[in-house]
Symmetry: C3
Subunit: 395 residues, 3 copies
């Protein structure tokens, strides 16, 4: 295993998941409209990267000029249309495509441009309102192959996205999204849920590898909405119960296998974990999905990009869905839920854990991710064998 994947001094090292994130995957890093005419610096998996556009085309290079270490993100596209970016310090000019230095402006056109005068260039794409970067050591697969179909099929699905930064390691954030039954507890007072019965909990969670080979699907059985604890009383306690007069929404039920959307898209689970750190959650009827993607920034923080995706069912329904998102889902679901989690996750004190029944989804995810992480093939070893021989550290 490479050095990046098992750092020492890392309280989560025991999970086998690397502190700085899984390499060789696509990650969303920035809302597309936030990258205008000026280059912009982003950080992911601990790497400083500059993003820039030239005549509509998107480029991503390492942000550090190899000459004297200045930041390319402070530079300019001096030659529009050439896909190049010039360093702010001495004008070394790099091809956005290859990362090669194509001119050293201060040294004249005859200056030698040795092979070492190069910065790393990153595969970059724009999809569904976000800029995506691929960080790793292998050739990038098509982005479309790495994300759920309803993200790419813009003709069939419409949607919105929100994003924010969490001041915690990406693993703490991703663990939060593994059907670990924190939701019935943490979010029970959120406006969307406070008038409904508490979500089913004490469910038996099963986690099954997806047929697509890119994650785990979760199924829950036998949930309860209320229970009596000896010596304490009921949960939820009576003073939290009397105002819960609404009927429950679909939460707690599994996917509706007869729904038209479910049949058409072959969806099997209402909730799944996708490599390298995303979560995909839908309504039972399959007409709505939330995709939540955790992008590691560095050891102490992560970026979180979240899409709400609605299946197009006629212009009137689409119009209603959009209103519904703007006036309800956006704040009630995306912001309030996220705020409630953020407060807890950013205060977590890493250390030994006492994993329990409700953490089955977390344990399954950690093991799956460690075993299936893409990696650079080593000499004489096929990539698949490497993955298979890895210890499953989460057990």
């Amino acid at each position: 295993m490479s050095v990046e994947r098992l750092p020492s001094n890392d309280p989560y090292a025991g999970t086998g998941l690397p502190e700085l994130g899984l390499r060789n995957y696509w990650y969303p890093v920035l809302a597309g409209w936030r990258l205008g005419r000026k280059p912009r610096s982003v950080k992911l998996l601990g790497e400083d990267i500059v993003l820039f556009r030239d005549r509509g085309k998107l480029y991503a290079l390492s942000d550090r000029c190899p000459h004297r270490g200045a930041r390319l993100s402070q530079g300019k596209c001096l030659y529009p249309g050439t896909g190049t970016l010039s360093c702010p310090y001495h004008g070394w000019t790099f091809s956005g495509e290859t990362g090669r230095c194509v001119a050293k402006l201060m040294e004249g056109p005859d200056a030698p441009l040795p092979r070492q005068a190069v910065v790393k260039s990153y595969p970059v794409r724009e999809l569904r309102g976000a800029i995506w970067l691929f960080v790793g050591d292998i050739e990038a697969p098509p982005l479309e192959d790495d994300v759920p179909e309803c993200l790419t099929a813009t003709a069939d699905w419409h949607g919105f996205s929100t994003w924010r930064t969490y001041r915690c390691n990406w693993r703490i954030m991703k663990d939060n999204l593994c059907h670990d039954l924190h939701a019935p507890f943490v979010h029970r007072h959120a406006p969307e849920l406070m008038f409904q019965p508490v979500f089913p909990f004490a469910s038996r969670i099963a986690a099954m590898p997806l047929d697509e080979g890119n994650g785990l699907g979760y199924a829950a059985r036998d949930g309860i909405n209320s229970a009596d604890y000896p010596g304490l009383g009921k949960f939820p306690p009576p003073h939290e119960t009397w105002y819960r007069f609404l009927k429950p929404t679909g939460r707690g039920r599994e996917i509706d296998t007869k729904s038209a959307a479910v049949v058409k898209y072959g969806v099997k689970y209402r909730q799944s974990s996708l490599m390298p750190g995303a979560t995909f959650i839908g309504r039972p009827n399959g007409n709505y999905f939330a995709l939540r993607w955790v992008t590691p920034i560095d050891a102490e923080s992560c970026y979180y990009h979240s899409w709400s995706l609605f299946r197009r069912r006629g212009w009137w329904r689409t119009f209603f869905d959009r209103l519904f998102w703007v006036f309800w889902v956006s704040w009630v679901h995306d912001w309030v839920f996220s705020d409630q989690d953020k407060r807890i996750l950013e205060a977590v004190i890493p250390g030994p854990e006492a994993l329990s029944r409700s953490d089955m989804g977390v344990v399954a995810w950690r093991r799956y991710a460690v075993e299936h992480a893409r990696q650079r093939a080593r000499a004489g070893t096929a990539p698949d064998n490497v993955a298979a021989s890895q210890p499953s550290a989460a057990e």
Copy 2:
């Protein structure tokens, strides 16, 4: 000696006093009224602790949930009257009394509650307006046995307290309270003292173990109020002397052995250092004492809780004492003195010291504290023998 008591990389390691404070003692950590219905996090001796009240009873637990590391201080007492606190993340519920997990709310009433599902619980008390915690590895003695009688005897003594946080290690703060003659110098311009002659200095300080076995008493002899330094001039210099027209208050004189209060309470010294880092200073007549307690927070900061205690001598006198404190002592003594010290102590650059005649009280305190520190008995060794055989690192 345990690992905590002699950390490396600690510029004060030579004193033998542990960077994070002496374990196995009671410490004040918070004014009682500041803990309301919401749990509250405090830190002492480097440990994160949550305090909470339930139906008037006070509890203290380790602030880190053993399940997934969330902070219990963000949780709630969901079941008032049961003395329990529930984690904000998945509702693990802990007994404030024992620290045992008594329910995992999200896992149903039949969830196993293994022995490992426990947090450390701390002895906690409220006394004289402060919440006190005992941090250590032995059974806590009664708080009353560990503090001066005039703190516990509320029928005979009334008082006030102030507190603040110092951004320096606790040892720097405690050294400042060891009759080291900084007071005649640092505080000579404070409103309380600026019109009086400068305190006696160049005193011969004697430090004697208290009969109670919990500290050192100081006695000073042969102080001077002024001296002539060859090549420099007088101290205090003439431009600081002409306006000192008041008579000196009791400062500089030792305890008045004929005073009624002194006789009654068997007080022997006007100033003493008490384990684990307190200072007790009175007026010669024994009717007023200040108790100043230094509580280590972490390596870089400490908490300071200070009481002004007046002996009750009829309601009229009590009324006057309270007015006197509110309009005079509180700001002139507690705040101004403390500010003058704070500025210096927080700027101290730790490193080698050149201890001198005026540091006799400091040296005696460090040696006494190292030799008499309570510690967990080791197999085959009586606690007393352990203490006696320790090297006195301060010499």
Copy 3:
């Protein structure tokens, strides 16, 4: 080589230049008028130093009191006229001249004053509006021998100075001043230059040791103001060129050997690097020089003191020069140029460099500085031999 000169964990260690600066040199540390009646703390080469004045005389001592570590800069000159400073904590009083403790105010006049009761005293001077300190282990040479003549000859030269702090290591800042051709690029949009053709670049830079033995002189040949880069276009690009209608000022031309000032002062180069980290740049006619001095503070920051020096040529001309500085040079040159550099330098990510043709001046400076750095003579080795035998780490 001493420990200070080759620290590990230092990304610039390969240059051979010490992270905290070259010892045994004078450095400007503070504008003189900023040191009033109160002592003031400064930091250079990682050392905390207190500056104070007594009856017009200037003193510099280590800022840490050896007694208990308090900061002397919080103390006072209690005995004006004696050149002493008293510690704020217990009144240990130190001679500004020798650093010896001459009195322990709290311990009486008969207190022993052992040899160890001493702080390091630093050679200190005031010249041309700045306070200069000498940090090192050898005897300080006269300040006048270490700075250009036009700084000391106040009868012949008048001037102004500005200063600021950079949040980068001193080497990054000094590299910026080594005729590395960043100026034609970085500053081409500054108000002073935006209407002129771009400075000549792609010059062949020669760096020659100065006769005085205290630095390198630079000479540039064959510069161009514009060039055509295949696949990109011209630099400067057309949209940056059309408004450059002014004639170039002297920049780009070398020193005018027939100018009266140049003949009189024996100036040989328009630009030179002076030990231990200064840069001296003039106009071809030799009537104006800018001296820019980089003073290391600690590993992460440096202080920058910059003089504009004009040769006195009659009162009318002097009056005009001063107006010219106040209304033009000060902001256009000193502030705008410095701001443009500051933004880039403070964002530099240290690491491996790809030094190139334009860095000849940088490489020559690093090598020269390492080879000629003053150092304490070692037993049995003459100082000159030591310098000569050092490896030139910049190659």
